[in-house]
Structures are given as structure tokens and as C-alpha cells.
Symmetry: C2
Subunit: 333 residues, 2 copies
């Protein structure tokens, strides 16, 4: 049995790390900001991973040099960051073969089940679905990034929110309650002043929105789910949420899942929006989920830990539960 293992789940919003024993008992966790090199740049991503790993190692009272294996989960695991840079960031000095990079989808999948084979849907800042076998992606649908894919994701939903608000403010779109919410969130006061033929507050809003990177628009997605829920949903918000659900349904349909199959579903937009907001679910998404065993997962950290254990051998349901419960205790405390 090997020594302690380190698992890192580097997401677009936050980066999480856990140090666990070889029997699956989680000993310490750490947390930092965005670990996604695409949205935040390589330097920020590496710094987030470094900080989350350092805090997890400190909490577990494990010296970095004692770590015998590392799994780093992130969107686009084949991406731009070289493995030696990842090893250096998390302080790993062991053999290169025991640092494994995995995608966010396999990590999320293994967060939800000990089964080696199945399907997962990650709907966070981005959206992707796929079939997974032994931590590898067999088939991927979606996950083509903010510009070319990711429909139904937090980014996509936030983008539709601000596009609807801009159209409302310039008169080309329907009025929506999202407008007041977005203006308030950006600290822009509505008024009667105009400049260059447009409301002054529209200028200010556009300046504020273009000042941040596009992916930061994901911050507005909770507004859509909130406005689409309740007894008097905002029609514009309801349409955005319904179209997002339709897009997620298209991802699932493309995987051709069979009745009774397990689908691990997670990501912040799934948990707090699609599944957890009370906003009505699109009929297409309800149909695509029908008959599946839908298993929720909080994020990919548990799965990254499970995949780290797999560096040493198979992980059964008992060990999976040990990882899950010990991690939950650490996170709850």
C-alpha cells in the first residue's frame, strides 16, 4: 500500500484539493480560486492549484515530498499546462507516471459512483456530457468551450441573460425583470440621460460587461433560474432556462443512454440551477432523463480522489463510500 495521495479538482470558479490515505480516508482539504487555464490564464490556474494543494497538505500534516501519487482533474485535461509545471505547482516530486491528468467529466463521474463504466453530465461554467470507462472518456458530447459550445451551461445562461437585458434596454427586445437585477448587480443606476443615441446606463452596462472576460458572464446565470422559478416566472428568464434545458437534453440524447443506466450529474449550474432552483425543467430534458438512475455529485473532488486511489488498483463501493464520507466530514467541518 502506497503513501498519501493528492487529488486536485481545478474548476473555472474554484480549485479544490484533498490529501487522502491509501485506504481512501481523506485527511485534509484546501481551496483556492479559478484553476482553469483557459478562462484565467496559466499563471493564475497554477497558483490556485498550488494554494489548494498546499493547504490540503498542511491540513493533513503531510509533507509534499511524501505524496506518492497525484491526480489533477480539469476541463480539457489534454490542455495547455505541461505536466512538469503541474507537478511543480503542487509540490509533487515523485515519478512522472504517478501524476495523472484527467478531465472534469471523468472526475465528476467518479464522484457519483464506484462503477468503472457509465455516463456523466457536468453543467458548471461550461457543459459537457460523456461516457466514461476507467477514468477515460470514451465518448464526449458538448464541452466545446464558451464560444463554440457549452449551451445550457452557467456561461451560456449568463450570456443569454445579459443579451436579453441589452436588447430590453435598447428597445429591440422584450421587457424583462432581469434588467433591474443585472443593473443592480453591476451597480449601474438607470436614468433618463442619453449619449450617442442610447441610454447612458446602457453605455455603462456595456462597458462593465466588456471589461471582464466573457466567461465571467456565468455570474448572471443564477438570476435566470431565480426569475424562472416561483408562481409568476419572468417569461424571458423562463425561455432562457427552457432553451438551456433543451441543449442539455441534446447532449444526453447524443449519448444514447439505455434505461436503468447511471448518469452522474453535477456542476454548480446543475446543482443550484437546473436541478436545485425550482425553475421548471424543459420537457425535453425531463424526457432525456426518464428511466436513468440520476446520481448527483457536488463537484469532481471526490472523483479525483477515487481516481488517485486507482493509481494503486481498483476502487470498490466500500472504499468509494469511505472516500465520500471522510471527505464530507472534512468539508462539513
Amino acid at each position: 500500500m502506497s503513501g498519501p495521495l493528492l487529488a486536485v479538482d481545478a474548476g473555472g470558479t474554484s480549485t479544490r484539493a484533498v490529501v487522502l490515505d491509501a485506504d481512501g480516508t481523506c485527511r485534509g482539504t484546501g481551496r483556492a480560486g479559478s484553476g482553469n487555464p483557459t478562462s484565467s490564464g496559466a499563471a493564475t490556474a497554477l497558483a490556485s492549484m498550488a494554494r489548494a494543494a498546499r493547504d490540503a497538505l498542511a491540513a493533513a500534516a503531510v509533507a509534499p515530498g511524501r505524496v506518492t501519487g497525484v491526480v489533477i482533474a480539469m476541463a480539457g485535461a489534454e490542455g495547455p499546462l505541461p505536466s512538469p509545471a503541474l507537478a511543480a505547482a503542487v509540490g509533487y516530486t515523485g515519478p512522472a507516471a504517478r501524476l495523472r491528468r484527467v478531465g472534469d467529466l471523468p472526475a465528476m463521474y467518479s464522484s457519483g459512483t464506484a462503477d468503472a463504466v457509465g455516463a456523466a453530465l457536468v453543467c458548471g461554467t461550461g457543459s459537457v456530457a460523456g461516457r466514461v470507462a476507467d477514468g477515460e472518456l470514451v465518448r464526449v458530447v458538448g464541452g466545446s468551450g464558451w464560444l463554440l459550445g457549452d449551451a445550457g451551461s452557467g456561461y451560456w445562461t449568463g450570456l443569454q441573460v445579459v443579451r436579453a437585458v441589452v436588447a430590453h434596454l435598447d428597445g429591440s427586445g422584450e421587457a424583462t425583470s432581469l434588467t433591474a437585477a443585472v443593473l443592480a448587480a453591476e451597480g449601474v443606476a438607470a436614468g433618463d440621460a442619453t449619449r450617442h443615441g442610447r441610454p447612458e446606463h446602457l453605455h455603462q452596462l456595456l462597458d462593465a460587461l466588456y471589461a471582464a472576460p466573457p466567461l465571467a458572464l456565468a455570474r448572471f446565470s443564477p438570476l435566470a433560474f431565480a426569475a424562472a422559478a416561483g408562481p409568476a416566472p419572468d417569461p424571458v428568464a423562463a425561455r432562457v432556462v427552457a432553451q438551456g434545458g433543451d441543449a442539455l437534453a441534446a447532449l444526453l440524447r447524443a449519448l444514447r443512454l439505455q434505461p436503468g443506466e447511471t448518469l452522474v450529474a453535477g456542476g454548480s449550474t446543475w446543482r443550484h440551477g437546473v436541478a436545485g432552483s425550482g425553475a421548471p425543467r424543459s420537457p425535453a430534458l425531463t424526457a432525456a432523463l426518464a428511466g436513468l438512475r440520476v446520481q448527483p455529485a457536488e463537484d469532481g473532488l471526490l472523483g479525483a480522489a477515487v481516481l488517485a486511489l486507482r493509481l494503486d488498483g481498483p476502487v470498490d463501493a466500500v472504499v468509494h463510500e469511505r472516500v465520500r464520507s471522510s471527505l464530507a466530514r472534512l468539508r462539513g467541518g
Copy 2:
């Protein structure tokens, strides 16, 4: 009567310049690449304006120091480039008050009519509509940029094309003839190889598409109009074109134009796509145009020249026609 005037129309795809006499006779033109600081950066935009202006001055045999007034038309005329930098770029050394920046919309408007007041629609890389009076925007709809607006534009249409192609290739979207066209345009060969759960050619396509700035996706918009035209239109392309037309109709409806009003319509996507491709026009757009006097315009260069003449006084229909015909002769030659 003043000396020679310089007009520059800085667009997302190309930058055009003309030198004209104070009576409206155009003497020389120049042309360069993108002059849009938002899409191409300030340095590239200034270099394009410099080159177009230099060539126009050389063609007219006018020394830069003799120019008595300059109009520079560009999207977002209130944008980031300081006027002294613009003056330096085009070699203008006269009084600051005689260098005027105008939006792409007033320039396009004045390309189509000598009337001081009316409406215009510019549908090129971006899309914007507005009411114009004396070269100033009175009311603007759209034009909120690639991320937050510009529906129906060349960028937007190209984006829908590649999003549909990516969805086709990963199985979440409908099959479309646009896929073969986009793969061919990017030099990507379709094959059976897969990597990380996706077709190898999808990886290659995504890499190619993300390597260029988002606005460069406008290059794919002609594919949509071509595939939507003819006796057997591609359903996906037809839907993209119809939705784009609906978006342009929403801009026009927001302006509340009256029957008989003049609408100057131009921009590359309008000329070669919406109006000139043979693809069916969306019913909403047909309805929005009904009863208007639609006046086509090639680009904003003629209008920028007219607005340069206005530095010296009113421009009537006779002078407008002199600018138009002399510019057309230069461009035809």
C-alpha cells in the same frame, strides 16, 4: 471654399479612404485591412487608417499638409482611439476642430442619401440601426458588439454556422451541409480517428477556430446564405438566416419607422447576404421593411466624404451625386 478633404471609413474587414475637393469631386482612394480597434487592436487599426489615407493622398497627388478637414467613420466613434493619434495616423496637421469622428451608422446613412435626417441599418461584421440627424445618432438600436448584441450580423451568422457544425460533429445537433463547407474552409480532413472521446477532426476544427479572434468567425457567414439559397436549401442554414433576419427586423421595429421613410441599408452582410444572396428573407424582416424607401449603400466611405464636406456647409442632392459618381468612377477604375 476650403482645400482638399480626407474621409476614412474604418471597418472590421477593411479600411477605405478618399481624398476629395471642396466641391465634392473625389480625387483618389486608398484601401487597407481592418481599421476596427476593438477587433484588431489599436495599433493595427491605426496602421490600416494610415495606409489607406496615404494611398488616397498619393492617388490624388495631395500632400498631407494641404488637407483642410478629416472625417473618420468607425463603429463606436466614441471608442478608445484618441483623436490626436487618429490625426497623426492619417498625417493631418490642421486644427483639431476639423478632424471629426463619426459612427459607422451616420456614415452609412450619408452614403445613401443627401437628406440630413433619416434612418440607417448597417449589417456588416456587426449590426446596428438608428436614426440619424446631421451626422449624429439620435437613436441607436443594436450595435452592442459581438458578445452582447450584433444579432443578424456577419459575426453572429458565422458564429451560428460553426456552432451548428460543432454540434453536428459531436452528435448533439442536426446534420448539415455546412459541416463539409467549414471543414474544407479550415483545411481539416474528416476521418475516423478519435481522441479523448471525440473525432480527431473536431479537435482540429476547435483548435483552428479558437486560434483566431471571435470576430473572425464572420468569415463563415457567406456559407449560411449560400446554403440557405437555391431550390434545396439546407434546413440548418435556412434557420440561421431566418433567425438573423428576425433579429434585424427587431432592430427596425424598435425604431418605429413610418411608411415612406428612407432607410439606408448597407454593410457586407446586408449586401452579399441578406439582400444579395438569393436566400429567402425572414417574414418578420419583410414586414419590417414594408412601406419604407430602402436605399442601398455599399459602405460608409461615400457618407464619410459627404460628412467631410459638411465641415464646410450643407450638402445638397447635386453635390451628393457628384461625390457618389466621382467616387464610383475611382472605385471602378
